[in-house]
Amino acid sequence: MEDSGKPSLHVESSAAEGSHFKLPVDSEQKATEFWLFSFAKPHMRAFHLSWFSFFCCFVSTFAAPPLLPLIRDNLNLTTTDIGNAGIASVSGAVFARLAMGTACDLIGPRLASASLTLLTAPAVYFTSVINSASSYLLVRFFTGFSLASFVSTQFWMSSMFSPPVVGVANGIAGGWGNLGGGATQLIMPLVYDLIHHIGSTNFTAWRIAFFIPGFMQTISAIAVIALGQDLPNGNYRKLEKAGDKHKDSFRKVFYHAVTNYRGWILALTYGYCFGVELTIDNIVAEYFYDKFNVNLRTAGIIAASFGLANIISRPGGGLLSDWMSRRYGMRGRLWGLWVVQIVGGVLCIVLGRMNNLSASIIVMVLFSFFVQAACGLTFGVVPFVSRRSLGMISGMTGGGGNVGAVITQLIFFKGSKYSKETGITLMGVMILCCTLPITLIYFPQWGGLFCGPRPKATAEDYYAAEWSEDEKERGYHSASVKFAENSVREGGRRRDSSPAVPADDTPSHA
């Protein structure tokens, strides 16, 4: 793994410059390999800083749910109050995720993510002093903003890692961050038990427990600023001064993002895999505690197993997407996403009908694998929707995830209209309905679920269409052209139709 003499996959002349990076890099100095257990500067270090700080944000955002049996009695909350706060916790990030893409463009992912994390840390500390339903709602709302660091994570990975490995980098960073939603269900009851054991009364012990996620957040953000770096060659300010970065127009990027219908469809479907994941993070501990009469720590362990599946499920989704693409191109990616998300929906329906503790746990774990893999599969498609507006499309999709969580909690988990079991089953039905639009996604050059590609369409045309003639003359679209060339593989292997074309080769140009 540590061989410095081996040439990188993208053989460019600049390799002769003698790159001073430990990892092999391409012409943009992005790493072409992913060494999980390395902390090499700047690529792998950025990866570890980024996933860990995102993990801490997830821990904080979902720190309250496992302790709800205590908090609800301390603050005299009703089911409606709890539901409202759950909605608030995921709604802040809807717009924050959209804004984060722009912030990353302006000040770089390192400062953007650290600012967000440090500015939301006070909300976590102040959770220890709340006294009413409204203050509970406010702290959960502001803490939830920190989930926007998802965008900076993906942005940072896309800046540090080359296309062949960016999927894996993004998938693991996203998955291990989401892991926080599961880890917190274990951490918080454990910390509470410890503090309670030492001698604090229960209504004080849970308050003290909140200093742990708050402190983790503060420390991880400081590490990001102090040890991280925006791009392989340095930080934004330095590079902008040197004229190495061209700034695109916000209005154009915005226009090309919102007029691409595929972005909207993926935002909706992401709402029904990631949004469902967020919803479950909010309700599952209380669900097991109340329905099966287990104690707080046990409810936490069960709830945690849902989020902990993220260690492999989301990265697994990303890997599956890449594997499907190698055999069937973009159509394979779309089929993989559709099938996996549908299975997730069916398992959700089944989960709500389970009345036995062990059966419930088994179904829940299976459900978690499928729903989280669907998240990974979604971000296997997102990078190809637009090249110019990649940041914004990622932000839209990410924001859509949170919108799904808001809507689902509003309809099914607010107030006492539906029991939690019924809510879960109905949520499963909604997953199935909202996954159907994937059938409408169509790339002229690669096809869709049920239709093949248009004969003369090319990836170059698709990505170049985002630039005006004027901009093309100035060469602004050169990155898009390179990307189109690198996306050759999304055409899939041609098996039967044209035997003259060798498998895995460049698509036939018009």
Binding site: P69, N74, T78, Y125, S128, T201, F203, T204, R207, T218
Partner: protein, 198 residues
């Protein structure tokens, strides 16, 4: 004679069966329970006390309590405290019932009745309560009950104000850690600006 152990087995099984499905509605209200707080009185958790007394109803025949071995006294939520709070729901199946979540005392039953002075624990949440006593048989199964309020749970209720759990030290710590986070951010921004100027 072989039927005797069989009969005993059937009796045992039916006892177990019945204890698994004790319905509140099947229990006779044979105990009179009184508690010291006046209706509407406000008690503070960790500070105030309740004196609970129970005895067999005047109207109940004296032999009815032959099976009563123990008395279990509980603090129970009134309907207002249960509203929109599914985790405090009343269910006729006693095993599933969540109305009475706090144990006051469990004592051996004596036909003259009994009493207990209970200091409201610091873990009792804010709410409106009444007191209920169950008479238990030798298998610890509920066989009768009595409560301080009426069947509709509307009379003779008292309030408990729970502790907040807050402390001045927590408030100060929260303030300090928050200030530190913001100041750290400002510090690093200033350092960035200085580096860019160079």
């Amino acid at each position: 004679m072989a039927t005797a152990p069989l009969l005993r087995l059937v009796l045992l099984v039916s006892c177990i069966g019945s204890s698994m499905a004790v319905l509140f509605s099947s229990l006779p209200n044979t105990l009179t329970v009184t508690s010291s707080p006046a209706a509407g009185q406000v008690l503070h958790a960790g500070v105030d006390q309740i004196k609970v007394s129970w005895k067999l109803n005047q109207s109940t025949p004296a032999s009815a309590d032959s099976g009563y071995k123990k008395v279990k006294v509980l603090l129970c939520y009134d309907p207002v405290s249960q509203a929109d709070r599914g985790w405090r729901k009343t269910d006729d199946h006693l095993k599933k019932d969540k109305t009475c979540q706090f144990k006051v005392t469990t004592q051996p039953y004596s036909s003259g009745g009994g009493s207990f002075v209970y200091t409201v624990e610091r873990s009792i949440p804010t709410g409106t309560y009444f007191v209920r006593a169950y008479a238990l048989d030798s298998g610890d199964t509920e066989v009768a009950y009595g409560q301080t309020t009426n069947a509709a749970k509307t009379t003779n209720l008292f309030d408990v104000v729970g502790i907040t759990g807050r402390h001045a030290s927590l408030d100060i710590a929260a303030g300090c850690f928050s200030a530190f986070s913001i100041l750290a951010l400002v510090f690093f921004f200033v350092v960035e600006k200085r580096k860019a100027k160079k």
